[in-house]
């Protein structure tokens, strides 16, 4: 029944070694021409963190903490996953379009291209998460038992990115306008996720529930819950099932579209 999903996943597994090695070259090629090299991977986000903290933390909140967590840390727990999500999603969606001319001449499954982007960006993500943990401890926020569910939410994050980039790399190759649309949407989602401001303070609770439809809401809130502690992932079963059903549906329709159109990708360039 879900043959297409199985096929896409099998292609990832059987080419896993290739994915890792291509990711290595991807990282290498990106900063080869810059003097500061891969240092830019950290300089860029640091500048953004400083700006957001200045505007939202000092400017709008006058440095007031959220609960008993300083705003700066609260924001970091959302921004660091976002610095992984946003570029990976956009690059992953563009990956087939930008590489198809190169790989279609070979016996090479295009479905691994988005995964290569996810893997190549995740090195940076894991480093930044490690830095975040160190910063938290330096501020005296020690990890509790809740930290173990971080593994679960990171799995959620990767599963969703995988499903979404399979679908959207196909769409983006067929209809170029989609990539533009996605860029604007991602810019919008930064403000519609609990990253820079506390959504629970909205005057109408139903508004927050609408924001919760955004799957990144689930992931970012979950990661924050694991770091601060206080809430288990199974405490909200409806939201959990919603997230996974959505991920599966995207993977299902994405795999279907990918397998149907991939022979003709070159015709749409």
């Amino acid at each position: 029944m879900f043959k297409v999903v199985r096929q896409i996943i099998n292609e990832q597994i059987s080419h896993w070694d290739l994915i890792l090695r291509m990711a290595k070259f991807d990282v290498k090629g990106k900063y080869e021409i810059h003097y500061l090299g891969s240092l830019w991977e950290y300089i860029n986000p640091s500048i953004q963190i400083a700006i957001y903290w200045f505007v939202f933390g000092l400017g709008l909140r006058q440095g007031a903490p959220i609960g008993d967590i300083p705003f700066f840390l609260w924001m970091l727990m959302g921004l660091i996953p976002w610095f992984f999500i946003s570029p990976t999603l956009l690059q992953g969606s563009n990956s087939v379009h930008s590489k198809v001319a190169l790989v279609s001449k070979m016996n090479f499954p295009t479905s691994v291209l988005p995964t290569v982007k996810i893997v190549s960006n995740s090195y940076k993500f894991f480093t930044m998460m490690a830095i975040l943990l160190i910063v938290l401890i330096a501020y005296g926020i020690y990890p509790s038992i809740y930290i173990i569910q971080l593994v679960y939410y990171v799995i959620c994050l990767f599963a969703f990115l995988f499903a979404f980039t399979i679908m959207s790399s196909t769409l983006s190759t067929l209809v170029r306008d989609y990539q533009m649309f996605l860029q604007s949407t991602m810019r919008m989602l930064l403000y519609l996720s609990p990253i820079l401001w506390d959504t629970s303070r909205l005057p109408i609770p139903a508004l927050e529930n609408i924001l919760k439809l955004n799957p990144f809401f689930y992931i970012i809130q979950g990661i924050r819950d694991s770091l601060i502690g206080g809430k288990w992932f199974f405490e909200d079963p409806i939201y959990l099932v919603y997230f996974w059903m959505l991920t599966f549906a995207i993977l299902f329709f994405g795999s279907k579209a990918h397998l149907r159109f991939r022979k003709n990708f070159m015709d749409y360039l």
Binding site: M1, L18, R21, M22, F25, K28, G29, K30, E32, I33, A101, L102, V103, S104, K105, M106, N107, F108, L174, V175, P205, A206, N209, I210, K212, L213, I238, Y239, V241, Y242, M245, L246, F248, A249, F252, F253, R260, F261, K263, N264, M266, D267, Y268
Partner: protein, 306 residues
């Protein structure tokens, strides 16, 4: 001798679209009364030929006659609109824009391309010095490919492609930018290929080059197979045609071209659409619904704050 490549009534057409919007409609195969003047362009039409193991075939023709379309079809980069292509073995296409990563050095490109061809790591290490020696571009091998001259680029591309050991090698005018010393070296390599029973396609608009490299020639003229056979014979026909064409007055030349191009434009017929339409059976709709419906229901529950 073993049959390597077989083409049966192969057509490749490109829809001459008015705008992006029509492309979108076509993509989702939305039934729409297409305009009467909708045309499609037959880049290649009714190609039928067989190529055996160990043969080297030159593909000649004027600019825009469909040579590159044919080489892309042979490399399985694009799919035919109708007809079928049977290829026994791995193909490798070398074109001037050889698909190298511009930001990486030549050295890294060697590794990446070999890797993408599915060559195991140990073999890549063994191949690297051979490829570097064959490409013969000196210390530039450690420079990013974007600093290469077009000659260096095609040398590297050619060197990698021949060392990945394909069964069928398609060379799309890649050698025309190399100098004669490199061309000789390539010729040697290609002869070695033929001896090992591999099949070669060599795309060129120059009959002289084809004479030098190939046993057989295929003349493709405005999308049609004009002649296929021994190189000398076909090359002679082609050269006779070129001489005849060149002595025509300019007006007649233009008329001739216009007539030929007009014959390639045919009214668009829906059922030849290049997307193989899947029959959406009702059971498939049930599955689609089965996947999509829970998302909607659960989404509603989340909004209602359950």
């Amino acid at each position: 001798m073993k049959l390597k490549v077989e083409l049966n009534n192969v057509y490749k057409s490109f829809l001459m679209r008015g705008n992006q919007y029509e492309k979108l409609l076509e993509l989702f195969s939305i039934q729409k009364k297409h305009k009467k003047n909708q045309k499609e362009f037959l880049a290649v039409r009714n190609l039928t030929f067989k190529v055996y193991e160990g043969e080297s075939v030159g593909i000649i023709g004027l600019n825009g006659s469909g040579k590159s379309t044919l080489s892309n079809l042979l490399a399985q980069v694009i799919q035919p609109t109708s007809g079928n292509i049977n290829i026994d073995g791995e193909t490798s296409l070398i074109a001037i824009s050889a698909g190298l990563n511009n930001n990486l050095s030549g050295y890294d490109n060697i590794e990446q391309k070999c890797m993408m061809h599915g060559i195991p790591k140990e073999n890549i290490e063994k191949l690297k010095p051979e490829i570097i020696e064959f490409a013969d571009i000196g210390d530039y091998i450690y420079q990013p490919v974007k600093n290469y001259s077009s000659g260096m680029r095609s040398r590297l591309g050619f060197a990698i492609a021949v060392h990945t050991d394909p069964d069928i090698l398609i060379i799309d005018e890649a050698l025309s930018v190399g100098d004669s010393t490199f061309a000789d070296k390539s010729l040697q390599k290609m002869n070695e290929f033929k001896k090992r029973g591999k099949t070669l396609f060599f795309v060129s608009h120059s009959a002289a080059q084809v004479r030098k490299f190939c046993d057989k020639a295929l003349w493709i003229h405005y999308g049609e197979l004009k002649a296929f056979g021994e190189t000398d014979e076909v090359a002679k026909q082609y050269q006779d045609f070129v001489t005849w064409f060149n002595q025509l007055p300019q007006i007649e030349k233009n008329n001739y071209k216009r007539e030929q191009l007009a014959s390639q434009k045919v009214p668009y017929i829906k059922n030849k659409s290049k997307l193989q339409k899947e029959t959406n059976s009702s059971s498939e709709w049930v599955i689609n619904l089965f996947v999509a419906l829970p998302v909607l229901v659960l989404g509603l529950l989340v909004v209602l704050g359950w």
